[in-house]
Protein backbone atom coordinates (compact mmCIF):
# COMPACT_ATOMS: atom_id res chain seq x y z
CA UNK A 1 0.00 0.00 0.00
CA UNK A 2 1.28 3.46 -0.81
CA UNK A 3 3.13 5.21 -3.60
CA UNK A 4 6.22 4.23 -5.52
CA UNK A 5 8.17 6.43 -7.89
CA UNK A 6 10.30 5.40 -10.86
CA UNK A 7 11.89 7.13 -13.82
CA UNK A 8 11.04 5.92 -17.31
CA UNK A 9 14.01 5.67 -19.77
CA UNK A 10 12.41 8.61 -21.63
CA UNK A 11 12.72 10.70 -18.49
CA UNK A 12 9.09 10.61 -17.40
CA UNK A 13 8.50 10.36 -13.65
CA UNK A 14 6.03 7.54 -13.01
CA UNK A 15 4.14 7.36 -9.71
CA UNK A 16 2.26 4.14 -8.95
CA UNK A 17 -0.70 4.30 -6.55
CA UNK A 18 -0.98 0.98 -4.67
CA UNK A 19 -4.19 0.60 -2.68
CA UNK A 20 -6.33 3.66 -2.00
CA UNK A 21 -5.90 7.37 -2.63
CA UNK A 22 -7.93 8.93 0.18
CA UNK A 23 -7.89 11.62 2.83
CA UNK A 24 -5.41 9.69 4.99
CA UNK A 25 -2.60 9.52 2.40
CA UNK A 26 -3.28 12.27 -0.14
CA UNK A 27 -0.66 14.58 1.41
CA UNK A 28 2.02 11.92 0.92
CA UNK A 29 1.28 11.88 -2.84
CA UNK A 30 1.24 15.68 -3.01
CA UNK A 31 4.60 15.84 -1.21
CA UNK A 32 6.11 13.21 -3.51
CA UNK A 33 5.06 15.12 -6.64
CA UNK A 34 6.11 18.45 -5.15
CA UNK A 35 9.60 17.05 -4.50
CA UNK A 36 9.81 15.74 -8.06
CA UNK A 37 8.79 19.12 -9.51
CA UNK A 38 11.30 20.93 -7.29
CA UNK A 39 13.98 18.54 -8.60
CA UNK A 40 13.12 19.68 -12.10
CA UNK A 41 10.85 16.88 -13.29
CA UNK A 42 8.32 18.26 -15.77
CA UNK A 43 6.68 15.15 -17.25
CA UNK A 44 4.76 13.09 -14.71
CA UNK A 45 2.51 10.08 -15.01
CA UNK A 46 0.34 8.81 -12.16
CA UNK A 47 -0.72 5.21 -12.75
CA UNK A 48 -3.78 3.66 -11.08
CA UNK A 49 -3.48 0.10 -12.40
CA UNK A 50 -3.10 -1.17 -8.81
CA UNK A 51 -5.55 1.19 -7.12
CA UNK A 52 -8.64 0.06 -5.21
CA UNK A 53 -10.61 3.27 -4.80
CA UNK A 54 -10.22 7.05 -4.72
CA UNK A 55 -12.34 9.40 -2.63
CA UNK A 56 -13.06 13.08 -3.23
CA UNK A 57 -10.03 14.07 -1.13
CA UNK A 58 -7.88 11.99 -3.47
CA UNK A 59 -9.50 13.60 -6.51
CA UNK A 60 -8.88 17.00 -4.91
CA UNK A 61 -5.22 16.12 -4.38
CA UNK A 62 -4.92 15.25 -8.08
CA UNK A 63 -6.47 18.61 -8.98
CA UNK A 64 -3.89 20.40 -6.77
CA UNK A 65 -1.07 18.34 -8.25
CA UNK A 66 -2.25 19.10 -11.78
CA UNK A 67 -2.33 22.81 -11.02
CA UNK A 68 1.17 22.72 -9.50
CA UNK A 69 2.61 20.90 -12.53
CA UNK A 70 0.92 23.25 -14.99
CA UNK A 71 2.28 26.26 -13.09
CA UNK A 72 5.78 24.85 -13.44
CA UNK A 73 5.32 24.40 -17.19
CA UNK A 74 5.04 20.64 -16.93
CA UNK A 75 2.58 17.96 -18.02
CA UNK A 76 0.63 15.42 -15.99
CA UNK A 77 -1.03 12.28 -17.34
CA UNK A 78 -3.13 9.64 -15.62
CA UNK A 79 -3.41 5.99 -16.63
CA UNK A 80 -4.73 2.60 -15.59
CA UNK A 81 -8.20 3.65 -14.44
CA UNK A 82 -10.64 0.74 -14.43
CA UNK A 83 -14.31 1.40 -15.24
CA UNK A 84 -15.25 2.13 -11.61
CA UNK A 85 -12.37 4.55 -11.06
CA UNK A 86 -13.00 6.22 -14.40
CA UNK A 87 -16.66 6.76 -13.46
CA UNK A 88 -15.53 9.00 -10.56
CA UNK A 89 -13.69 11.26 -13.01
CA UNK A 90 -16.67 11.32 -15.38
CA UNK A 91 -19.23 12.05 -12.65
CA UNK A 92 -17.16 14.99 -11.42
CA UNK A 93 -16.22 16.10 -14.98
CA UNK A 94 -12.56 15.78 -14.01
CA UNK A 95 -12.09 13.63 -17.10
CA UNK A 96 -12.13 16.98 -18.94
CA UNK A 97 -9.32 18.36 -16.79
CA UNK A 98 -6.87 15.45 -17.00
CA UNK A 99 -5.15 13.71 -19.90
CA UNK A 100 -6.16 10.10 -19.26
CA UNK A 101 -4.89 7.04 -21.14
CA UNK A 102 -5.88 3.43 -20.73
CA UNK A 103 -2.39 2.07 -20.09
CA UNK A 104 0.83 3.61 -18.76
CA UNK A 105 2.57 2.65 -22.02
CA UNK A 106 0.12 4.77 -24.04
CA UNK A 107 0.76 7.73 -21.76
CA UNK A 108 4.54 7.33 -21.93
CA UNK A 109 4.64 7.18 -25.73
CA UNK A 110 2.37 10.20 -26.09
CA UNK A 111 4.39 12.61 -23.96
Amino acid sequence: MGFSQTKDPRGVTVVQVDGQLIVGNRQELKDMVQAAVEKGDRRLLIDFSRTGYIDSSGLGALVSISKRIRESGGELRLSGLNDDLRSLFELTKLDTLFAITETPEQALTSF
Binding site: V23, Y53, K93
Partner: protein, 152 residues
Protein backbone atom coordinates in the same frame (compact mmCIF):
# COMPACT_ATOMS: atom_id res chain seq x y z
CA UNK B 1 -1.04 -1.94 19.35
CA UNK B 2 -4.77 -2.68 19.53
CA UNK B 3 -7.10 -1.05 17.04
CA UNK B 4 -9.24 1.81 18.42
CA UNK B 5 -12.14 0.60 16.26
CA UNK B 6 -15.03 -1.22 17.92
CA UNK B 7 -16.82 -3.67 15.64
CA UNK B 8 -19.94 -5.74 16.19
CA UNK B 9 -21.40 -8.14 13.59
CA UNK B 10 -24.78 -9.86 13.84
CA UNK B 11 -26.16 -12.29 11.29
CA UNK B 12 -29.78 -13.39 11.23
CA UNK B 13 -31.82 -15.70 9.04
CA UNK B 14 -35.60 -15.74 8.79
CA UNK B 15 -37.82 -17.41 6.19
CA UNK B 16 -34.70 -18.49 4.30
CA UNK B 17 -33.48 -14.89 3.90
CA UNK B 18 -30.30 -13.88 5.63
CA UNK B 19 -29.42 -10.43 6.88
CA UNK B 20 -26.28 -8.90 8.35
CA UNK B 21 -25.96 -5.97 10.72
CA UNK B 22 -22.54 -4.40 11.24
CA UNK B 23 -21.91 -1.63 13.73
CA UNK B 24 -18.59 0.12 14.13
CA UNK B 25 -17.44 2.94 16.38
CA UNK B 26 -14.25 4.81 15.53
CA UNK B 27 -12.43 7.86 16.91
CA UNK B 28 -12.21 11.10 14.94
CA UNK B 29 -8.91 10.24 13.30
CA UNK B 30 -8.63 10.17 9.50
CA UNK B 31 -5.94 7.49 9.72
CA UNK B 32 -8.69 5.06 10.87
CA UNK B 33 -10.84 5.53 7.77
CA UNK B 34 -9.23 2.96 5.49
CA UNK B 35 -9.40 0.20 8.11
CA UNK B 36 -12.98 1.16 8.99
CA UNK B 37 -14.06 1.01 5.34
CA UNK B 38 -12.47 -2.42 4.91
CA UNK B 39 -13.97 -3.83 8.13
CA UNK B 40 -17.49 -2.65 7.38
CA UNK B 41 -17.37 -3.72 3.72
CA UNK B 42 -15.85 -7.14 4.43
CA UNK B 43 -18.18 -8.07 7.28
CA UNK B 44 -21.26 -6.60 5.62
CA UNK B 45 -20.75 -8.51 2.37
CA UNK B 46 -19.35 -11.77 3.80
CA UNK B 47 -21.36 -14.69 2.48
CA UNK B 48 -23.37 -12.48 0.12
CA UNK B 49 -22.95 -11.85 -3.57
CA UNK B 50 -22.14 -8.28 -4.49
CA UNK B 51 -20.83 -7.03 -7.82
CA UNK B 52 -17.42 -5.37 -7.92
CA UNK B 53 -19.15 -2.07 -8.72
CA UNK B 54 -21.39 -2.38 -5.63
CA UNK B 55 -18.34 -3.12 -3.48
CA UNK B 56 -16.47 -0.17 -5.02
CA UNK B 57 -19.37 2.21 -4.48
CA UNK B 58 -19.83 1.06 -0.89
CA UNK B 59 -16.14 1.69 -0.16
CA UNK B 60 -16.12 5.14 -1.78
CA UNK B 61 -19.30 6.42 -0.10
CA UNK B 62 -18.22 5.06 3.27
CA UNK B 63 -14.88 6.80 2.92
CA UNK B 64 -16.64 10.04 1.96
CA UNK B 65 -19.15 9.90 4.79
CA UNK B 66 -16.46 9.06 7.37
CA UNK B 67 -14.24 11.89 6.12
CA UNK B 68 -17.12 14.36 6.42
CA UNK B 69 -18.05 13.07 9.88
CA UNK B 70 -14.49 13.19 11.24
CA UNK B 71 -13.30 16.46 9.70
CA UNK B 72 -16.44 18.59 9.31
CA UNK B 73 -18.72 17.00 11.89
CA UNK B 74 -16.37 16.31 14.79
CA UNK B 75 -13.64 18.77 13.79
CA UNK B 76 -11.05 15.97 14.23
CA UNK B 77 -11.63 16.15 17.99
CA UNK B 78 -10.35 12.74 19.10
CA UNK B 79 -12.59 12.71 22.15
CA UNK B 80 -15.58 12.50 19.80
CA UNK B 81 -16.76 9.32 18.08
CA UNK B 82 -18.23 8.37 14.75
CA UNK B 83 -20.77 5.55 14.57
CA UNK B 84 -21.38 3.40 11.51
CA UNK B 85 -24.35 1.08 11.13
CA UNK B 86 -24.49 -1.06 7.99
CA UNK B 87 -27.41 -3.36 7.34
CA UNK B 88 -27.49 -5.83 4.47
CA UNK B 89 -30.72 -7.53 3.43
CA UNK B 90 -31.32 -9.38 0.15
CA UNK B 91 -32.51 -6.33 -1.78
CA UNK B 92 -30.36 -3.52 -0.39
CA UNK B 93 -27.47 -2.25 1.73
CA UNK B 94 -28.32 0.57 4.13
CA UNK B 95 -25.42 2.43 5.76
CA UNK B 96 -25.66 5.26 8.25
CA UNK B 97 -22.77 7.36 9.57
CA UNK B 98 -23.34 9.60 12.58
CA UNK B 99 -21.01 12.12 14.21
CA UNK B 100 -21.24 14.20 17.37
CA UNK B 101 -21.12 17.55 15.60
CA UNK B 102 -23.80 20.24 15.37
CA UNK B 103 -24.92 19.04 11.94
CA UNK B 104 -25.21 20.93 8.66
CA UNK B 105 -27.76 21.74 5.98
CA UNK B 106 -27.07 19.34 3.08
CA UNK B 107 -29.18 21.47 0.74
CA UNK B 108 -26.71 24.34 1.16
CA UNK B 109 -23.88 22.37 -0.48
CA UNK B 110 -23.54 23.38 -4.16
CA UNK B 111 -22.91 20.95 -7.00
CA UNK B 112 -19.23 21.12 -7.91
CA UNK B 113 -19.59 20.96 -11.69
CA UNK B 114 -19.37 24.59 -12.80
CA UNK B 115 -16.32 25.07 -15.08
CA UNK B 116 -14.75 27.57 -12.67
CA UNK B 117 -15.00 24.98 -9.88
CA UNK B 118 -13.12 22.25 -11.74
CA UNK B 119 -9.82 23.56 -10.40
CA UNK B 120 -11.05 23.48 -6.79
CA UNK B 121 -9.55 20.79 -4.55
CA UNK B 122 -12.61 20.45 -2.30
CA UNK B 123 -16.39 20.20 -2.48
CA UNK B 124 -17.02 16.90 -4.32
CA UNK B 125 -17.72 14.54 -1.42
CA UNK B 126 -21.47 14.89 -0.92
CA UNK B 127 -22.01 15.17 -4.68
CA UNK B 128 -20.20 11.85 -5.22
CA UNK B 129 -22.25 10.15 -2.50
CA UNK B 130 -25.47 11.34 -4.15
CA UNK B 131 -24.31 10.02 -7.52
CA UNK B 132 -23.08 6.63 -6.29
CA UNK B 133 -26.00 5.44 -4.15
CA UNK B 134 -29.72 5.14 -4.82
CA UNK B 135 -31.00 7.13 -1.83
CA UNK B 136 -29.41 9.64 0.57
CA UNK B 137 -31.19 10.90 3.66
CA UNK B 138 -30.14 13.07 6.61
CA UNK B 139 -31.60 13.33 10.07
CA UNK B 140 -33.14 16.64 11.07
CA UNK B 141 -30.03 17.84 12.92
CA UNK B 142 -27.83 17.05 9.91
CA UNK B 143 -25.23 15.00 11.80
CA UNK B 144 -26.30 11.61 10.47
CA UNK B 145 -26.33 10.48 6.85
CA UNK B 146 -28.13 7.37 5.65
CA UNK B 147 -27.15 5.90 2.27
CA UNK B 148 -29.01 3.10 0.53
CA UNK B 149 -27.63 0.99 -2.31
CA UNK B 150 -30.07 -1.35 -4.03
CA UNK B 151 -28.46 -4.70 -4.80
CA UNK B 152 -28.56 -5.74 -8.46
Amino acid sequence: MTSPLRLCVRRTSASGESATLVTLRLPSDVSCIEEAVELVTRHCLAGHHATSTTQFRLRVVLSEALTNAIIRGNGEDRTKWVDVRAELVPERIRVSVTDEGPGFDPDSVPEPLRPEQLDEANGRGLYLIRKLVDTVEFNERGNSICMILRRP
